[in-house]
């Protein structure tokens, strides 16, 4: 079907064969890697949101010790390269967890690469999410919270029904940026030998010596992931902004 195209451009046929989804093409491996990257990014983003929510609440309403500890956490994570945090957490994390389990009289466990990746990137994401959510919560008008209190709402109810919905549109641009960082940070797991997109690409490139082809192809996949998710976040943002007074 593409014969005329290949005749025009001989290199294209080799490229198409290399990237074919069926072995001996390596396209399937790249897509498997991309799927692993997406899973880790999604898990890390969710974990980061969870840590970030508690972190933001702790920074705003926690006691002095909580606030200072959270400040140490966000400062350290934002000042130390992700690669080093990943190395420390990846090796030390497993070690510590197993020592704790052993002390509790439990059997040591194997932590799958996916779980370790999610945990490590989640801790990193959590620090940034803390700052994003704190800023968003702070910009919810005070009057709304006072009104809620006047209605006799408790702290949890106020957060769930007033603070959370009001801050979400303000937090979305920051969160969308964090998601993009999460997808790109998964590439760092290649350095600890986890089979995500970048490592699959390196294996394919090394095995076939077609470095240029595979790195470009992987770039295209990453770009697709970020562009599509950018669209999705834009759509969510538009939805949540509806009905809000324009700033």
């Amino acid at each position: 079907m593409f014969d005329w195209l290949f005749a025009l451009w001989p290199g294209l046929e080799t490229t198409a064969n290399l990237l074919s989804l069926q072995p001996p093409g390596w396209g399937g491996n790249l897509l498997r890697g991309a799927w692993a990257s997406l899973q880790i990014a999604a898990g890390a983003f969710a974990l980061g949101l969870l840590i970030g929510t508690f972190g933001a609440l702790g920074k705003l309403y926690g006691g002095p010790v909580t606030r200072d500890l959270l400040a140490v956490y966000t400062t350290v994570v934002r000042a130390v390269p992700e690669l080093i945090l990943i190395l420390i957490l990846y090796y030390a994390g497993t070690d510590l967890l197993n020592q704790v389990l052993r002390a509790m009289g439990q059997r040591p466990v194997e932590i799958s690469g996916v779980m370790a990746g999610i945990a490590v990137l989640g801790v990193v994401q959590g620090a940034y999410a803390t700052e994003v959510l704190r800023g968003a919560i702070q910009s919810v008008p005070r009057g709304q919270l006072e009104a809620a209190r006047a209605f006799g709402m408790g702290a949890v109810q106020t957060f769930r029904r007033i603070t959370f919905p009001a801050m979400l549109p303000l937090a979305l641009p920051g969160l969308s940026n964090l998601w993009l960082i999460a997808t790109k940070d998964t590439a760092l797991l290649a350095i600890v030998g986890f089979s995500e997109l970048t490592l699959e690409t390196r294996q394919a490139a090394g095995s076939t010596r077609a470095y240029f082809t595979f790195f470009l192809a992987a770039g295209a996949i990453y770009l697709t992931m970020t562009l599509v998710s950018g669209r999705i976040f834009g759509w969510i943002e538009a939805r949540y902004r509806r009905g809000q007074v324009a700033q």
Binding site: P64, L69, P81, I88, D185, A190, T201, R209, Y211, L223
Partner: protein
Amino acid sequence: MSRAFSRFADEVFVPHRLAMIAVALGIVIWAALSMRWHWIPRYSDLALQGIWRTLWLLGLSCLIGFALAVPLGLAQAAGPRFLAVPARAFCTAIRGTPLLLQLWLIYFGLGSLFPQFPWIRESELWPYLRQAWPYALLTLSLSFAGYEGEIMRGAFKSVPGGQLEAARSMGMSRFAILRRIWLPQALQRALPTLGGETVLQMKATPLVATITVIDIYAVASRVRQDTFIIYEPLLLLALVYMVIAGLIALAFKLLERRFNRGMVM
């Protein structure tokens, strides 16, 4: 000075902070005594060279990247379509792909093409093309340009149009408007983000170790390989990066204070 000190003292001499500082000191002392640090003297020269390489790669790539970011931002904010579209595409591609992949594409991807073009080895650039640092510098600069180009686009756009019109009505040339009004104001708007972006760039530098550049991260890896000590070099390395990040933040604070002097806020 004494007022600043007393304010500092007020912040620190609070019971819970003193307790936390005591705990932190305890951890540091415990780490110093019970972990293995005997390798430090043997590698101190190498480590200093590594820190120096990290610092100049960071400084130079930020300078080059920022110099590229200004035209990239301007092209997107006000340029004709044939300039705006490529500039936009460049920023999107850089910001949408991992730096590690860009680095490997530029180092190993270009390298894999060399054998097909034997004349490259005869060219005057070959002594540089053989080394790893030019690729690291190029990739880091392009990356910084991509992120900062996006910020400059916003900064150029946010300068009030009225000021530019006023300048035009006074008969200033387009270049003079750019140089005397538009650029300074855009720079002032971008400056608060620049410190943060530089810290992010610093956090990206250890990736260059994967293409054989011996920065401080590579030195720590070597200690890890030579001595089989896993955590100590990594912890010290984290400390080094925290100090560098602190210095960057401090430097930009001073810079911003100087830049804003005389400006009406």
